[in-house]
């Protein structure tokens, strides 16, 4: 009898996990096309009120290929980063070669790190399970599929009505809150893509800092695989 109850419990748990992962996949689909180009801006707000802005051109293909090119400021112009699965490289124009970097590093400073800026789909990096709900939102708990993902656990609030992300909390393996991301300002990008245009981020480790990632333009577009190679990093501007 005990065995039967245990098996039923395991089956139900498995079905719930499948539903949670399906919901996570649906959220990814709502956020961005599978292959696209985008113009994004990061604004780092410092504790003294001053701001630093970075603009970049981003391209993504499939589940594991994303690259970005810095367009501004002048001191960063021409720098490029590439992510292929868990591999990341930084291209510095003066060096004229890509250098391997880690997902935890921050090129722009502020609260965003490489993992945030070069993020793949949530459903690619995490397994989901339901962790409760409020009147308007469902809460998912996400566990990293591998140890190389920047955050071990995520807690995600999703609106019931439109299935949009409202908020994400990122935790370390030890359960320490690393940062909070809030998704705001819904915008219509055309071709049926309506999503929050601003991701606001703050962290207990960066007291007084606030960073904003703003999607200015998103267009579905496909690219040859070869543009997602180290060899092409210095030529990403040709795609614009």
């Amino acid at each position: 009898m005990k065995l039967f109850v245990y098996l039923v419990f395991m089956c139900l748990q498995n079905l719930a996990a499948q539903d949670a992962n399906a919901l996570l996949k649906s959220i990814d689909d709502h956020l961005l096309p599978e292959s696209y180009e985008a113009y994004r801006k990061i604004i780092n707000e410092e504790p003294n009120g001053s701001k630093k802005e970075f603009t970049f051109y981003t391209i993504k293909k499939g589940k594991d290929k994303i690259a970005l090119l810095y367009l501004a400021p002048a001191s960063e112009k021409g720098r490029a980063t590439l992510r292929l699965g868990e591999n990341m490289w930084l291209y510095i124009p003066n060096l004229n070669k890509p250098v391997r970097i880690t997902s935890l590093q921050s090129i722009t400073g502020g609260v965003f790190n490489n993992a945030d800026i070069l993020q793949l789909e949530y459903s690619v990096e995490y397994d989901a399970r339901f962790a409760g709900e409020t009147k308007d939102e469902q809460i998912l708990e996400l566990k990293a599929k591998s140890t190389v993902v920047a955050y071990d656990k995520l807690k995600m609030w999703i609106t019931k009505e439109r299935q949009y992300i409202h908020k994400v909390e990122a935790y370390s393996a030890a359960g320490v809150l690393i940062k909070t991301l809030e998704f705001k300002n819904e915008k219509n990008y055309g071709n049926g893509l309506v999503r929050p245009s601003t991701v606001e981020t703050f962290s207990p480790f960066y007291k007084g800092y606030r960073s904003y990632l703003i999607y200015q333009k998103i267009t579905a577009r496909t690219f040859p695989d070869e543009v997602f190679t180290q060899n092409y990093m210095g030529k990403l501007g040709n795609l614009r």
Binding site: P47, L84, T102, L104, T229, K235
Partner: protein, 418 residues
């Protein structure tokens, strides 16, 4: 000089006017960028070193010297569909009588597809995975380990590159690059002998999340060289890399019986290192470098004795000859064989906004001399940077770093990016 700077000013004026007149709706893109550096340096000279005594023979000057210079870098990039032209210029201005203008890079690129590119002109290559040193950098401009990220002059060359990606977990991508370089000029830097044309070849693989390169350099004038390197993230915050190069019949210079002489032998150089990012955002880069063509401890001692001997003869002719040989045969940032490089940097410590301190050292394992440098970078806005950069060269007068002309140096930089 005036011509050089007139050219630079002309380029800047053209830059402004072109940017304003550029029609955004056309496919043509012309973009200008660059940085303007102002540098002030104070040197504490090592007046007891042989290098100093040779350079300042029979001159009585203060042991503290200063230098003030400006260095504008102006770059242009023109794109039209699959064509591209890159221009990178650099100038140094000390005063009206002492300045220089360099064309760092000037090349055209034709990209018939995402897989294939052809380039011709003057271009910087950067083969190898090392940060401070690159034993497999057969076509690289020699890097300054004190500032490996500084822009450098390229080589006159033609290259073709082919790249292919694969939907596989094992072999993820493959590329091959061929570089053709003109040989050593024989008549007033304008004519080369056709038979002396050199060829560099590099095969690159991304295999199971590891970058691996195999390269070779074939030349009639220089020894044939073969190399391999790799780089891999073994943890989310730890990257490891290594390089190995072997060369046949390398010509190196040593001092034997008090006279510089060339030797020919097969040599291997190698490097291994790592880049680590701590939880508190401290970056550590460490590399061990074995320079196979470098001087051993005893060979360096003979070289040092040669410099001292040139001085002890005491005539301007002997000093001049010694200096010329020193520049021509022993002009290297890494004259000896065993080096350890360590760089540590940490952004905005103790909540000091916009400040990034870093320090690096190059330790000569054979003679225990060391170059120790610590810099503080202050970036109040994204396009303005101030750098305070003191360096110390520690070691006895007959050691590599301790025997250099200056024993301490402080650099103050202002950089404006545009």
């Amino acid at each position: 000089m005036n011509l050089h700077f007139s050219m630079l000013i002309f380029l800047s004026v053209v830059a402004v006017s072109q940017d304003e007149s550029e029609d955004q709706s056309t496919a043509r893109k012309l973009e200008w960028s660059g940085n303007f550096d102002v540098k002030y340096s104070i040197f504490h000279m090592n007046q007891s070193s042989a290098n100093y005594k040779l350079q300042f023979f029979n001159k009585s000057i203060s042991s503290y010297l200063s230098q003030y210079r400006i260095e504008p870098y102006v770059n242009a990039e023109y794109k039209l569909q699959n064509l591209e032209v890159q221009l990178k210029t650099h100038a140094i201005f000390y005063d009206e009588k002492e300045s220089s203008f360099d064309l760092y890079e000037a090349y055209g690129t034709y990209n018939p597809s995402a897989s294939l590119s052809l380039q011709a002109g003057k271009r910087v290559y950067n083969w190898g995975k090392g940060y401070a040193f690159n034993p497999v950098g057969f076509v690289n401009t020699v890097k300054d380990p004190e500032n490996p990220e500084l822009a450098q002059a390229g080589l006159m060359s033609i290259n073709a590159e082919f790249v292919k990606s694969f939907p596989s977990e094992v072999l993820q991508s493959f590329s091959v690059m061929m570089v053709i370089l003109s040989g050593r000029p024989v008549i007033s830097h304008r004519f080369d002998e056709t038979k002396n044309t050199d060829v560099g070849l590099k095969f690159s693989f991304l295999v199971m999340d590891t970058d691996i390169d195999f390269m070779t350099y074939q030349s009639v004038t220089y020894p044939a060289r073969y190399g391999v390197d790799f780089s891999r993230n073994i943890m989310e915050n730890l990257e490891v890399h290594a390089e190995l190069s072997v060369a046949n019949k390398v010509i190196r210079y040593v001092v034997a019986n008090g006279v510089p002489q060339s030797q020919q032998s097969d040599r291997a150089s190698y490097l291994f290192g790592f880049r680590y990012l701590s939880e508190i955002s401290t970056t550590v880069i460490a590399e061990y470098y074995h320079n196979g063509s470098g001087l051993s401890r005893s060979e360096f001692q003979s070289y040092h004795d040669y410099l001292v001997n040139g001085l002890s003869i005491g005539t301007s002719v002997s000093v001049q000859r010694t200096m010329e040989n020193n520049r021509a045969l022993f002009n290297s940032n890494t004259l000896m064989q065993e080096y350890l490089y360590v760089k540590i940097s940490h952004p905005e410590p103790f909540d000091l906004l916009y400040v990034t301190p870093s320090m690096f050292s190059i330790y000569n394992l054979a003679d225990k001399s060391v170059l120790l440098s610590a810099s503080i970078q202050y970036k109040p806005t994204t396009d303005l940077e101030f750098i305070l950069w003191p360096s110390f060269l520690v070691g006895s007068n007959n050691s590599e770093f301790g025997g250099r002309q200056a024993q301490q140096r402080i650099d103050l930089w202002m950089r404006v990016f545009f």
